[in-house]
């Protein structure tokens, strides 16, 4: 008996006409990702003290959150920490990326691997180690604002800068070494080349890295929880402590604001990166 090929091709799982599967996958992923978030956002407008039944639209919980001094203070702390840790981790991350791109040294592979450690290590371990570290070195507490935030800021730099380094390193991989030779051939000194060619080339990576660092810092709970004291509460930590009493729409409102900021910054980062990608189109 000879095996005959079927007259019609059977439809495989990755066939382009598989619209139904494609739609199902789309729907499932959206439900998983966004259903909880959507409920959070919707119930932030719920006119009910208890967050279970929908009783009509209101903005009063946004107002309430705005007038909650503890919440606003926590938000101000979060922004301050995010601001400083972003600046420092962007500079440090860029330097690491340049180091890895430009130089060869012994155990470079080990160094490169160790840079990604904070990305893969469980956050809880980072948090505990940070707490142990700061108490071991006797880091001063009870300083005036904003110096009381220094421990959290340092902890945030620790887990932010490797992300920045990874992003900028990826960008540098596309750098044409002839740009450097051309700049020098045209009379540029090392520093002029660095300022005029290298930094503009890294710019999309710098911005994307900075925005990512900012959102990571703003959203972080676990590591912050272990390094914050009673007078250094950040927004995520504050929300957590509020939830322990009761889940009110006020918390939903505060969370929604946090989501909005994160979303906005991420969108800008992605947009900048894609625009830079177009500019590079060789």
């Amino acid at each position: 008996m000879r095996h005959l090929l079927p007259k019609r091709k059977s439809i495989g799982p990755l066939d382009y006409i598989h619209q139904r599967w494609m739609k199902l996958t789309l729907a499932l992923s959206f439900v998983f990702l966004y259903a909880p978030l959507l409920i959070l956002v919707i119930f932030s407008f719920n006119d009910s003290r208890r967050n279970i039944v929908w009783r009509g639209l209101t903005f009063k919980y946004y107002e309430k959150a705005w007038n909650n001094d503890g919440l606003i203070e926590a938000f101000a702390n979060s922004l301050t920490i995010a601001f400083f840790s972003t600046i420092i981790s962007t500079i440090l991350g860029a330097m690491v990326a340049l180091l890895l791109w430009r130089f060869r040294f012994t155990l470079k592979g080990v160094y490169e691997g160790s840079m990604t450690l904070p990305i893969v290590i469980p956050e809880i371990c980072m948090g505990v180690s940070m707490m142990a570290f700061f108490s071991r070195v006797g880091w001063p507490s009870g300083l005036i604002w904003p110096f009381n935030l220094s421990a959290i800021t340092i902890a945030h730099i620790t887990f932010c800068f490797p992300f920045v380094a990874v992003i900028i390193r990826a960008r540098l991989a596309n750098f044409n070494l002839e740009f450097e030779e051309a700049a020098k051939d045209l009379g540029a000194s090392e520093w002029q080349f660095f300022r005029d060619i290298m930094i503009p080339f890294m710019k999309p990576g710098l911005i994307a890295g900075a925005l990512l660092a900012f959102t990571l810092s703003l959203d972080d709970f676990v590591i912050t929880f272990f390094t914050s004291g009673p007078d250094t509460v950040t927004l995520p930590v504050k929300i957590y402590s509020m939830v322990r009493f009761s889940v009110t729409p006020e918390i939903n409102a505060a969370s929604t604001v946090l989501i909005a900021i994160t979303l906005l910054l991420t969108t800008i980062a992605l947009w900048l990166q894609s625009r830079a990608g177009q500019n590079l189109g060789h």
């Binding site: 002839e178 030779e181 051939d185 045209l186 540029a188 500019n279």
Partner: protein
């Protein structure tokens, strides 16, 4: 002819990368206003030689003098030389104007002067009106013009071009060849071009250095390189060549050539030849004639069987066999539509001027 001034002098220059000798003790002088080509197969060291001139590589040994000045320890940004890179290296985040003006800006020239010079340079490479474009809005050929303008605006003593035409398509390449020569005539700057394309070198350069595995094999004008190659490598690398093993001996005022492949015949004596060092003779395909009747006795002549034909439009390559297994390629110009076209298996008389033969070491 006025004796032109030497602008570049290279003395016994070498470059080693670890155990690899990229450039092996070469000397070379290039005159002011010359269009000079470094020609060789890929990996022969021609680009390394060019990069040493630009200061992008440091020679292991030897000296480079530009305008009589020793270039040892002089950084690329302080050399009176500019380069057009193979990838053009047009800065992607700058407009055409900023790209071309960059070399002037970094040396602290006034903005108004920069504007004037950049516009003039863009006009020179026929890119007038493109100053506000970004590089990603330009074609490959236009990017190359930007790279050219960017180098020329610095008014260098020497312009280096690293495989400038290799990324362009055939039609554009031919147009660009003519344009580069014209441009060089207008600006009067010495051009040194690196290429692996012999057509490019032959058609553009005033003189060519043929390089093979780090060594310069011959430096001469294009016609000399083609008609009188110095050795077997040059003969083989430039154009097509039929090479036959042979022995040469003096016979009165002539040279007797004995080849197992094409037999025995006499050629005129040549001063520059030592008969006992010659081990091959060669003839170019286009110097061979195929005729139906036997030509006169002054020519080398033999009967040949046609074994293969490749039609190229303007010419036809015909492969013939003589004796046992000796294949010879000939090129016939298709100068008339009525031309007799032999078929595979036909016999023809094969002939050439004996003095068109090359004697190779």
């Amino acid at each position: 002819m006025i004796q032109a001034k030497t602008v570049i002098e290279i003395r016994n220059i070498s470059k080693r990368f670890g155990n690899v000798i990229a450039v092996d003790s070469n000397s070379l002088t290039i005159k002011e206003g010359e269009f000079f080509a470094l020609l060789g197969p890929s990996g022969c060291g021609k680009t390394t030689l060019l990069r040493m001139l630009a200061g992008l590589e440091v020679p292991t040994d030897g000296k480079i003098l530009i305008d009589g000045e020793d270039m040892q320890g002089v950084a690329p940004n302080h050399r009176p030389i500019n380069m057009v890179f193979q990838s053009y290296a047009v800065f992607p985040h700058m407009t055409v104007f900023d790209n071309v003006g960059y070399g002037l800006k970094v040396t602290g020239i006034a903005a108004s002067t920069i504007r004037e010079e950049v516009m003039a340079a863009l006009e020179q490479v026929r890119l007038g009106g493109y100053q506000d474009r970004m590089p990603d809005q330009l074609s490959g050929g236009q990017k190359q013009r930007v790279a050219l303008a960017r180098a020329l605006v610095k008014k260098p003593k020497v312009l280096l071009l690293d495989e400038p035409l290799s990324a362009l398509d055939a039609k554009l390449r031919e147009a660009m060849q003519l344009e580069l020569v014209k441009l060089q005539n207008t600006v009067g700057i010495t051009f040194i071009i690196v290429t692996h394309d012999q057509d490019e070198a032959l058609s553009m350069a005033d003189r060519i250095a043929v390089i093979n595995s780090g060594k310069i094999e011959q430096i001469a004008e294009p016609r000399t390189i083609y008609e009188f190659p110095a050795n077997r490598f040059v003969a083989d690398f430039i154009g097509k060549m039929n090479v036959f093993d042979a022995k040469v001996a003096k016979e009165g005022d002539r040279l007797a050539i004995q080849s197992s492949e094409i037999g025995r015949f006499l050629v005129s004596d040549r001063k520059d030849i030592e008969p006992n060092r010659i081990n091959a003779v060669a003839i170019r395909p286009e110097k061979i004639r195929l005729t139906g009747t036997r030509p006169d006795d002054s020519l080398y002549c033999t009967e040949a069987k046609i074994v293969n034909i490749a039609y190229h439009g303007k010419e036809t390559a015909i492969f013939v066999e003589i004796g046992e297994n000796t294949e010879i390629s000939c090129t016939v110009q298709n100068s008339s539509r009525k031309q007799d076209m032999p078929k595979i298996g036909d016999f023809r008389w094969l002939s050439w001027e004996v003095d068109d033969m090359l004697l190779l070491e």
